[in-house]
């Protein structure tokens, strides 16, 4: 069996021995990268042995950057150029950012997504996140001594389409092949559940720096099924810091006007909050307006300040239980995830609601990355076959704008993904050839209260009498939770051209420009990277086709088989050349040429599943 050889200087001569896929937790406060090595999933440390990378990027002179601890330690010194908790800004406009005036940044109000003005120019949250992702990628490739095949990146379950797309864009900028976006609570459940062989209904209470998720999952023999999920994508430990900071300023009778003071009081508040998880009282110190100030803070005070925020999380928990039609008693265990769950008051409150002690023995900082690494291994085809399957849901309802600014729901929240729903529309004017559809996400009844996702324009509708056209619009949400739309006029069969004007995010042009301008961690120029990626993808296709033929070649006729083999041979020879575009075209040709084969294999698999002939199905 001939194998495609890609030999480049410095690369292992047998690249298909190992496909390194990692899990990445891109957190509000900390980020981590994990991989499965020798059967064990573990977080990869940096040179000083630390696994946590603070999600902080500082922009210096002459286009230099600091990422991680060095940047975090400088946040009080250089507050306008040191970006912290940027996850809270992903996919958001300035108007969405609550308490923006209490943050030390120079915000730029752009229509698609907010940006921050730094000494190195305006930075979008996507670019900042890409720096963090690139640093993690570097760490992984250095540790594993190999290129990465791909990564599973976690997002809060409650992230909407805009926030998810922004995360994918950041990964693309960082040169990562995103295998899947998975929900943080699901990842935590994987890390936890596989470890213990648990079965049954579990809740994951995930309170991070900037986001809160509550998910209810059913675990059953390696299948993790999300039953319902909820949360708040703008609620986290940072908000408790802010409440404490406001209280401190009030008690001291001071204002924090300068960027330095704003950052200083937040840093001090966080330190005090963390200390109060162990102590009953603590002295908070900070330098404001050049002057050293201090204030004694008790645990009681902190808990009183945090109370409304904790209550919001508990409301979300009750709603998820309602959605799932499940009582607290039916939940076998509650897993606590996220640094903020170290607060004693939170553990008590959650314990009271569920009537049992929450499970806190997994490291709340690492568990998400570890779960992502396990999923990454399974997706890269390295895991044991049939062991792990994640069945997730869409967290927020998708709807369309109808008359009077109301929302008509098309896909309800907690629907298992992937999912597709079709809706029929018609024209209201004779000869109408185009129409506009506004898609929103959220649970409210008014369009203005929901998040605008995109406006779709359908063109090319054949002119007819008003009301005669039947335009079937299909909304599809993929396994990453991302929406795509297609439209077809039923009577004529014309596929209407759908152009999407996203209400948020980066235009394709922006990304292309950023890639051209040379992203800080890009080692080669764009052309070399494109060629390398085209070759890697070609190799993947060749290998995949080879294994498919070995397993199910009998499904093809002799003619069909030789057609496929010819496409493979053609791709192999083109991939040994230098023309990236030609390689991509040949790869696509092989993909298209094996589509019917893939369908036949799928049918076969289904029939076997139904007949219960799977070997491990006893």
């Amino acid at each position: 069996m001939a194998l495609l050889q890609i030999s480049e200087p410095g690369q292992s001569p047998d690249p298909h021995q190992r496909r390194w896929a990692v899990g990445i937790d891109l957190g509000t406060t900390h980020s981590l990268v994990a991989a499965v090595r020798s059967g064990v999933a573990e977080c990869l440390p940096d040179e000083s042995g630390e696994v946590l990378l603070p999600s902080v990027v500082r922009y210096l002179e002459e286009g230099r950057r600091q990422i991680g601890r060095a940047a975090r330690d400088a946040q009080a010194l250089d507050p306008e150029n040191t970006l912290v908790s940027v996850k809270r800004l992903m996919g958001r406009r300035l108007a969405d950012v609550a308490g923006a005036e209490r943050l030390p940044y120079r915000f730029v109000d752009r229509p698609g997504m907010v940006a921050v003005a730094t000494r190195d120019g305006e930075k979008t949250p996507v670019e900042v996140s890409a720096e963090i992702l690139a640093a993690l990628r570097q760490r992984a490739e250095d540790t594993l001594d190999d290129d990465l095949y791909g990564a599973v990146i976690t997002v809060p379950a409650y992230f909407d389409d805009a926030q998810r797309q922004a995360t994918k864009d950041a990964a693309q900028l960082a040169g990562l092949n995103v295998l899947r976006l998975i929900s943080e609570p699901t990842a935590a459940a994987v890390a936890y559940g596989l470890d213990r062989g648990s079965e049954g209904l579990f809740a994951v209470y995930d309170l991070g720096g900037g986001t809160f998720d509550i998910s209810l999952l059913r675990l059953s023999r390696g299948v993790f099924e999300v039953v319902a999920t909820g949360g708040d994508a703008a609620l986290g430990g940072d908000d408790i810091d802010e409440a404490l900071a406001r209280h401190v300023l009030q008690q001291l009778g001071r204002l924090a006007d300068s960027p330095h003071d704003k950052r200083a009081v937040l840093v001090a508040a966080r330190a005090a909050k963390e200390a109060l998880s162990q102590a009953d009282t603590v002295t908070l110190t900070a330098t404001l307006g050049g002057e050293a100030v201090s204030l004694a803070v008790t645990r009681e005070t902190l808990e009183a300040l945090a109370r409304p925020l904790i209550d919001r999380t508990l409301s979300a928990v009750r709603r998820v239980l309602r959605d799932a039609r499940v009582t607290p008693a039916e939940v076998q265990g509650v897993v606590m995830v996220g640094g903020s769950t170290r607060m004693p008051r939170i553990r008590t409150a959650v314990g009271e609601l569920f009537g049992r002690e929450p499970l806190v023995d997994v490291d709340p900082d690492q568990v998400v990355a570890i779960g992502a690494a396990l999923q990454a291994q399974a997706l890269a085809g390295q895991g044991r076959d049939g062991e792990l399957l994640l069945l997730d849901v869409i967290a927020l309802s998708l709807g369309l704008e109808t008359m009077g600014g109301l929302v008509e729901r098309v896909i309800e929240r907690n629907t298992t993904i992937p999912v597709a729903k079709a809706q029929e529309f018609t024209t209201f004017q004779d000869g109408q050839t185009a129409m506009a559809i506004h898609v929103v996400q959220g649970e409210r009844d008014l369009v203005s209260d929901c998040r605008s996702l995109a406006r779709f324009e359908l063109r090319g509708i054949p002119p007819m009498v008003a009301g005669a056209a039947r335009i079937r619009v299909t909304f599809q949400v993929d396994a990453d939770g991302l929406l795509s739309v297609s439209a077809r006029e039923q009577t004529s069969g014309v596929e209407a051209a759908v152009t999407v004007k996203p209400s948020y995010g980066l235009a394709d042009d922006d990304i292309a420009r950023m890639l051209r301008d040379g992203f800080s961690h890009a080692e080669d120029d764009l052309a070399a990277r494109k060629l390398r990626e085209a070759r890697v993808e070609a190799e993947r296709m060749v290998l995949a086709t080879g294994s498919a033929l070995r397993a199910d070649g009998h499904l093809l006729s002799d003619v069909e088989r030789s057609t496929v083999e010819a496409l493979v041979a053609s791709l192999r020879s083109i991939a040994s050349g230098e023309d990236a575009d030609a390689i991509e075209a040949a790869t696509e040709a092989l993909a298209e040429g094996t589509e019917a084969f893939a369908a036949a294999r799928m049918n076969q698999g289904l029939r076997q599943a139904l007949a219960g002939r799977r070997i491990d199905d006893v």
Partner: protein, 176 residues
């Protein structure tokens, strides 16, 4: 086996109302294990596209089979009497009176911010839903009167929509 098969055929389950939920769930997980795009993550874009179509279809079929209302609606259609709620607006008079009384009670309770009363209403409606469903099941599985079943399915749709409205009001009361 193809994408256009009805849900019962797709899942290899008998086309009737009575069913074992655990067995259905298990069948769904097994099918997803076969067709979920994640199973084909390493096999190229074409395989993923096909997998996506199947996974979507399996999810859709599962949603229909596990929800008694949609299951009943599907069965009526398969047996030649589609429910077509938009076409049939005739409802039993007593039923409409009850709907109006319930709506008033909901509006009053919600305006007063009385979550307990709203919850009690939800419980009443749920009880009625269960009764109607039992009736539908008997009409379809035992008696074999499909038109009568279709009528009761339309009643059930009304009830379910109302209960969803109640749930929304409860959500609003929980988090204004």
């Amino acid at each position: 086996m193809n994408l256009a098969d009805d849900p019962f055929t797709l899942f290899g389950l008998p086309p009737r109302m009575a069913f074992d939920r655990a067995a259905l769930d298990e069948r769904w997980r097994r099918l997803q294990g076969e067709v979920h795009p994640d199973r084909f993550a390493a096999e190229g874009a074409a395989a993923q596209r096909v997998a996506m179509q199947w996974a979507v279809r399996v999810n859709e079929a599962y949603a229909i089979l596990k929800d008694p209302l949609r299951r009943a609606e599907c069965l009526c259609g398969l047996r030649g009497v589609p429910v077509q709620a938009e076409r049939h607006t005739d409802m039993p008079a007593g039923f409409l009176m009850q709907q109006m009384a319930w709506r008033e009670a909901l509006d009053d309770a919600a305006t007063d911010g009385n979550a307990a009363a709203v919850q009690a209403l939800a419980d009443d409606v749920t009880a009625q839903e269960r009764q109607t469903l039992a009736h539908v099941q008997s009409l379809l599985d035992d008696v074999g009167d499909v038109p009568a079943a279709a009528q009761q399915v339309r009643v059930l749709m009304f009830l379910q929509k109302f209960r969803r409205d109640i749930d929304r009001r409860l959500d609003a009361l929980e988090s204004p």
